[in-house]
Amino acid sequence: MENVDLKDIGQQKTFRRFDLQFRIQHIVLFTSVIALIITGIPMWLNLGGADHIWASREVTAAFGGLKAARLIHRWAAAVLIAVSLYHLIYSIVARRGRREFMELLPRFKDVTDVIHNFMYFFGLRTTRPKFSRYSYYEKFDYWAVYWGCVIMIGTGMVLWFPRLAEKCIPWLSYELALEVHADEAILAALALFIWHFYNVHFNPSRFPGTLLWWHGRISREEMLRDHPLELEKLNQEGQADQLAKKVVPGES
């Protein structure tokens, strides 16, 4: 948690969960992904011919035709590749990035949290599982994007540069790459608009939506509700720090 005044942790009302780095990465990511989905749809609908699905004519026309849709799609793909590479490098090189990456690694506790949570859903448990910095579903979101980016960028490159792909990876035929690309896109779009959007926007606790992606701040109530173990950890660090500095609470 950044910009946390550990001395005042007990009185802090909001916490900065994501710094500017991460927020910019996220904005660039979702902008490019949404552009990719929107421009990918008319191309997908046109597979098998212009009349394959009736909506394809109207949707395609809305983009100025297939050529325009393809051009925008490739530009958005370039942006996605850039932000993915940046994130990868950042996760390796920067200390902060490495720390976040370690937090996002799946652990055994995530499995128990899943079970615990489902039991809570159906009244078999009275309390929710306690999550640390990232809950299991947030980790799922992160690794799903990882998986999606690898597949989409990999197969997308085959579709973009078929001649080069034929020389370098002849076993991955154009049709196979197209099949995987389209199917994974469908999965990603469904996961994004149903699962991720529910968790961050449509969830009754957050409806009509959170602006966490914009300002990066999270309230104490949300911390207590969604990431109590992290708050606990911060409390301990704050007290430890206070102890280390021999600061009495309330004193500046």
């Binding site: 191309m43 046109n46 597979l47 098998g48 011919g49 212009a50 394959h52 297939l66 393809r70 949570n117 489902f118 809570y120 859903f121 159906f122 009244g123 579903y137 579709l159 078929p162 001649r163 034929e166 035929s173 154009y174 049709e175 196979l176 197209l178 099949e179 995987v180 199917d183 994974e184 469908i186 999965l187 469904l190 996961a191 149903i194 699962w195 529910y198 969830n203 009754p204």
Partner: protein, 608 residues
């Protein structure tokens, strides 16, 4: 060389104001003859043009032996609903067709079946090679010489349909005359008995017997008894279309036909003969170069020759391309392997591939264009197109395809067709039983029981010598071939389906390349992207061809195009497709359950 065999360099068409001659080289002049005879193109046109050289041309030589067959082409098709047959017939050595004589077609019978769309010559002039029982018929009808006018008369009132109808009536001697606007032929040689003597006449009291009589418009003949013909060296496309039209049954009918687009070459101002040329020998170029008969001149008139140029050509202009104004294709972004694997026509010709190949009709197979006798409702025989299959040159080519259906005797891996008339004689009652039932896929269905009974009777007839192979060999095992399968009787007399040996391939579909109509470049495969072909939604690889058969089956079989292209089954694509389908379903089910669970728990807690 005769006068008309070569020009002096003038590009103008010589005015053909010429005398007419009958088959005995006597001038026909109705101004002086009270009962003028029909004129013969052999003697009339042959007066100035070497008929014997011309008659060796591609349109007229299929009856001859030792003629190089070239690439597969459109066959004639012998069809009979009662016997459930559709047999591709040709005397050319194309694998998968049957010679006319094997199907019981002598020259006379060949003309009876297919003469409406024959330009004359060929079978129409080998009268002395026919079965003796037709000698008298030939004498009555006369020979059918090459009708030069069907191609070279540019007059709009040169009536090819009338020519065809005259042939249909066996008025061979009168056919060319009847097609001209200045002559009318009444009568029907087919009504004449074998004993009719054309010189003596007779039977004038019998209204059922109508000897052909020609009446000329005398005003057309000038003072010298000559007639004007609008003869051109290069026939207009409409002349070719009488025999070379294709109708897509998906766009057939009065409300859809107008949606069909013309070939882009004709729209650009070219005619058929700008590409399909020949010299005096009338060995017309067929648009491709036969590797067995390389003709460098013909090569310049192929798709590549005109559009791309031939780098190996001696002439620099031939190496350039752009002939006749042909746009030079850049094929930007297209990997060169496509030129090795595909013909030009694969991307540029025929209908845009659909999920299933559709039925088409052609002039020669379905006898199109006959005024008063055309049948727009009759799709049989069934020709499917476009079918993307491997051609003889190893390239994927769009083709027309027919599934042969026939009765035959099989022996030693070879089959001998049993003519439909012979089958009807032997097993007609068995096969006519259900002819009035509703058609299935346009066929009059045949049951396995009917096949079994017919084969049993054919076996008995073959053993008794009632029916034998055309060449006199002992008849073999009777079989019925249909829909790629061979039906035969086992030792116990039960019906079995036998595999078609790949080497013998007697049940394989017969296909031949199509090249028209050529679509504009903007409507070629690949114009909207690689996915036009390279996707699991693409009809190019995954489109299907219905296995056409009259045999009643529970479910119509469909053959995917990739099998005809001899491409291994794309199992990996199918497996991946299934994997992702289940991945999406399972993942979303779990995620949605999670969402539902969350909502449910909130509801539960709120109510407590």
């Amino acid at each position: 060389m005769l006068l008309g065999d070569h020009d002096d360099g003038s590009r103008a068409s010589p005015v053909h104001r010429i005398p007419l001659f009958d088959e005995d080289k006597q001038q026909v002049n109705p101004q002086v003859d009270e009962e003028p005879l029909p004129f013969s193109t052999r003697t009339t046109c042959g007066d100035c043009h070497s008929y014997d050289i011309i008659s060796g041309g591609w349109h007229f030589d299929s009856a001859q032996s030792n003629v190089p067959a070239g690439r597969r082409g459109e066959p004639w098709v012998m069809v009979d609903r009662q016997t459930r047959t559709q047999i591709p017939i040709s005397n050319r050595a194309w694998p998968g067709v049957f010679p006319p004589q094997q199907a019981g077609l002598t020259p006379w019978l060949f003309l009876r079946k297919f003469g409406t769309h024959v330009p004359g010559g060929n079978y129409g002039e080998i009268t002395d090679q026919d079965d003796p029982k037709y000698v008298l018929r030939w004498m009555i009808s006369g020979a059918l010489p090459i009708n030069c006018l069907v191609c070279h008369d540019a007059a709009a009132d040169q009536d090819k349909s009338e020519f065809a109808l005259q042939v249909f009536q066996q008025n061979y001697r009168w056919a060319a005359t009847g097609s001209c606007p200045f002559a009318a032929v009444a009568g029907d040689a087919s009504t004449l008995p074998d004993t009719y003597d054309p010189l003596m006449g007779g039977f004038s009291d019998n209204p059922a017997i109508k000897p052909p009589v020609v009446t000329y418009d005398k005003t057309v003949f000038d003072a010298k008894g000559m007639v004007f013909f609008d003869i051109v060296r290069q026939p207009p496309a409409r002349n070719c279309y009488f025999c070379h039209s294709t109708q897509d049954l998906e766009k057939a009918g009065p409300y859809k036909e107008w949606t069909r687009d013309e070939d882009v070459h004709l729209l650009a101002g070219l005619t058929c003969v700008d590409c399909h040329r020949n010299g005096l020998d009338h060995m017309i170029t067929r648009g491709t170069v036969d590797p067995k008969q390389p003709d460098l001149q013909a090569k310049t008139l192929t798709c590549e020759g005109c559009h791309l140029g031939d780098p190996a050509a001696d002439s620099p202009i031939a190496a350039m391309g752009g002939r006749l104004g042909a746009p030079k294709a850049a094929h930007q972004g297209l990997p060169p392997i496509h030129f090795d694997k595909l013909s030009c026509t694969a991307c540029h010709s025929g209908n845009w591939p659909g999920k299933k190949a559709t039925l088409v009709r052609t002039s020669r197979i379905h006898h199109l264009g006959l005024h008063g006798k055309h049948n727009p409702e009759e799709p049989l025989p069934h020709i499917a197109a476009p079918v993307f299959a491997l051609a003889e040159d190893g390239k994927i080519t769009p083709q027309k395809l027919i599934w042969p259906a026939y009765w035959a005797y099989a022996q030693g891996g070879k089959v001998t067709i049993i003519p439909p008339e012979a089958v009807k004689e032997i097993a007609g009652k068995i096969l006519e039983g259900n002819l009035n039932e509703a058609r299935v896929d346009d066929w009059n269905s045949i049951t396995r029981e009917q096949i079994s009974q017919t084969l049993t009777l054919l076996a008995a007839a073959g053993g008794s010598g009632t029916v034998s192979a055309a060449d006199g060999d002992k008849a073999g095992e009777p079989v019925y071939v249909s829909g790629g399968k061979i039906y035969a009787l086992d030792e116990k007399g039960a019906l079995v389906e036998k595999d078609d040996d790949a080497a013998e391939a007697i049940a394989q579909p017969y296909s031949w390349p199509l090249a028209h109509d050529v679509r504009p470049a903007a409507q070629s495969l690949g114009a909207t992207g690689c996915e036009d072909c390279h996707s699991t939604e693409s009809a190019f690889f995954y489109g299907e061809v219905a296995v056409d058969t009259p045999v009643k089956t529970e479910q119509a079989a469909l053959l995917p195009m990739y099998k005809l292209q001899q491409i291994p089954e794309p199992q990996l694509n199918i497996t991946v497709n299934r994997f992702f389908k289940w991945l999406i379903i399972i993942t979303m089910v779990v995620l949605i359950l999670h969402i539902i669970g969350d909502l449910f728990s909130r509801l539960l807690r709120r109510s407590q």
